[in-house]
């Protein structure tokens, strides 16, 4: 009987300890250098699995009736840099999108030139990493067309988007995509939302649309596009402003 009691006590203690270690331990582990790396390794698996399962499949396109009454802006909604203010004051007439880095032909395009390219309109859903969704109608040029003009060199592997909006830490927003997403037919450089010129809170004059990923990938206030072989040397090295804060580079989930 004594042995049973001892065993019982051991089992109870073991269980209590397991519980405490699991819950309290998660906080401590989150602060280490190695645990988040181990946890983050699952993203590579998710990316590989989702790429294999969905390949180039198209994001669902909705009807006019599904459009959200307000396309909720998030993150920066009104960049304050003098450079951006000056562009905005002039209705973005002086705006130019520069495409450079590892390309055969660096390109510099005005909004007018961008609009003259074959364009695409799509009603797609925007999923924020926070959990909410809004639906909007976007018009723009497929990123692939602009990349074809610039002709990335063989060494290029990622497309980096630099933006005009300064974040809390003073750095400017940036993002990056791999070529599979960059060349996807629904990946747009958009200048129109719901049939109107893109408003400033939503990223005027030009923003990225990548409907198969989460909102933070869809950089607003685009300044320039750079083709690179690695984003390790760009800003924090994780491929994007939020990625540098610990968010996953692959945001398909």
């Amino acid at each position: 009987m004594k042995l049973i009691n001892k065993r019982r006590r051991f089992l109870r203690d073991a269980l209590a300890l397991t519980g405490a270690v699991t819950l309290g331990g998660c906080d401590k582990l989150s602060e280490t250098d190695w645990a988040p790396k181990v946890l983050g390794s699952a993203t590579a698996l998710s990316h590989a699995a989702q790429r294999a399962l969905s390949r180039d499949a198209m994001a669902r396109e909705y009807s006019e009736a599904d459009i959200s009454p307000v396309f909720r802006p998030n993150g920066s909604t009104d960049p304050q840099s003098p450079e951006y203010r000056a562009l905005a004051a002039n209705g973005f007439r002086d705006y130019r999108l520069n495409v450079g880095g590892l390309v055969a032909h660096p390109v510099s395009l005005s909004l007018e030139q961008l609009r003259a390219l074959p364009n695409r309109t799509q009603i797609t859903r925007h999923d924020c990493v926070e959990g909410w969704s809004v639906i909007g109608k976007w018009t723009g040029v497929q990123l692939s067309r602009v990349l074809e003009m610039a002709q990335p060199t063989k060494a290029a592997r990622y497309v980096v988007f630099r933006c005009y909006d300064a974040m809390d830490d003073g750095s400017e927003y940036y993002e990056s995509l791999g070529f599979d997403d960059a060349y996807h037919p629904q990946t747009l450089l958009a200048w129109e939302l719901n049939g109107k010129t893109l408003p400033i809170p939503n990223g005027a004059p030009l923003r990225l649309r990548v409907p198969r990923q989460l909102g933070y990938k869809m950089a607003k206030y685009l300044r320039r596009i750079d083709l690179v072989d690695s984003f390790k040397s760009v800003e924090g090295g994780q491929g994007g402003y939020w990625e540098d804060q610990g968010y996953q580079w692959y945001a398909g989930i």
Binding site: I4, R7, R8, L11, R12, L15, T18, G19, T22, L23, C26, D27, S30, P36, V38, L39, G40, S41, A42, T43, L45, S46, Q50, L53, S54, A57, M58, A59, R60, Y62, D66, S68, V70, R72, R125, D127, C128, V129, E130, G131, W132, S133, V134, I135, P211, R212, Q213, L214, W242, Q245, G246, Y247, Q248, G252, I253
Partner: protein, 295 residues
């Protein structure tokens, strides 16, 4: 707990007075090693998925039905209001019903400070508001949960654990009425009957494993913008991506309900015996001696 009749507890094996001479304490091997390992992997996964899931929920503590968020009309929201004196009040709204839930939902203490947050810090992984880290925990353990679940189903089919132990027999179905009454009165099977799962237990396990488990994973996938490019049918089936998020949450609540009942049953049917059986596999029953068997 006060409503548990004293004698219901005292009737349990091991805590009862020494078995009468006609009863023989017999130890059966109840859970095989692979099942025990998978049970505990699953338990840890669920605990972490729940905590990290609530952390993710807290980033936007409101739920909607449909494809998109109808921000002014969530069906569930854990929000906060501030009175004139600056005090924060947690308000949980379900449809048009509003409940004051300060301390629990909407507003709770973080390091002694009243803070606006959906679920309280003790329930989330990590404790502080940290969406990126919550997602890291969630997706890592989601993979382990899925792999473990697939292993379980394969094993359960291979060893016939599923058909032999989990699917109710015809006799089980006939006795379901009595089993419901027995459970309500905390009257639990004894002797040889305790060695097998009873009908409500079988149904509970089947529903939790296949409906909740399968459902929570599918609804998780239906929230992925990338997976939606091939799972559009599933998203539409449940009414949209925001519906999928709501149902994902409801399945998680279902797991909590199961967990509470599971723990309760473990306690009332003998903590020591149950814990030993899920750790070492050995489960004691008080069986009637062979020569004394009767109907």
């Amino acid at each position: 707990m006060a409503s548990i009749p004293e004698d219901a507890i005292h009737r349990q094996p091991e805590t009862a007075e020494p078995p009468s001479p006609r009863l023989v304490r017999r130890v059966v091997y109840r859970h095989t090693l692979p099942l025990r390992i998978m049970h505990w992997i699953n338990a840890i996964c669920l605990l972490i998925l729940l905590g990290s899931g609530l952390q993710i929920f807290n980033a936007h503590p409101a739920l909607y039905w449909g494809q998109r968020s109808t921000f002014d009309r969530p069906w569930l929201s854990l929000g906060a209001t501030q009175t004139r004196d600056g005090k924060l009040h947690g308000v949980t709204a379900i449809g048009s019903h509003r409940f004051h839930t300060t301390g629990w939902f909407g507003v709770s203490k973080v390091n002694g400070q009243s803070t606006v947050r959906g679920f309280p810090a003790w329930a989330t992984i990590p404790g502080p508001q940290w969406l990126a880290m919550g997602r890291a925990w969630h997706f890592f353990f989601a993979w382990i949960f899925v792999i473990n679940g697939v292993c379980f189903v394969a094993y359960a089919l291979w060893t016939r654990h599923l058909t032999r132990d989990l699917v109710p027999t015809r006799r089980d179905w006939r006795g379901i009425g009595r089993s419901i009454i027995d459970h309500a009165l905390l009257r639990h099977p004894h002797g040889e009957e305790a060695a097998r799962y009873n009908v409500l237990q079988r149904l509970a396990y089947l529903i939790v494993i296949f409906f909740f488990g399968g459902g929570v994973v599918l609804m998780g996938l239906a929230m992925s913008p990338r997976m939606d490019s091939v799972l559009g049918w599933l998203v539409d089936l449940v009414g949209g991506r925001q519906s999928a998020r709501s149902i994902h949450f409801l399945f998680a609540m279902g797991f909590i309900a199961f967990f509470l009942i599971h723990i309760f049953e473990v306690i009332v049917t003998g903590v020591g015996n149950n814990l030993r059986s899920i750790i070492t596999g050995r489960y004691a029953i008080n069986a009637e001696a062979r020569d004394e068997t009767h109907q």
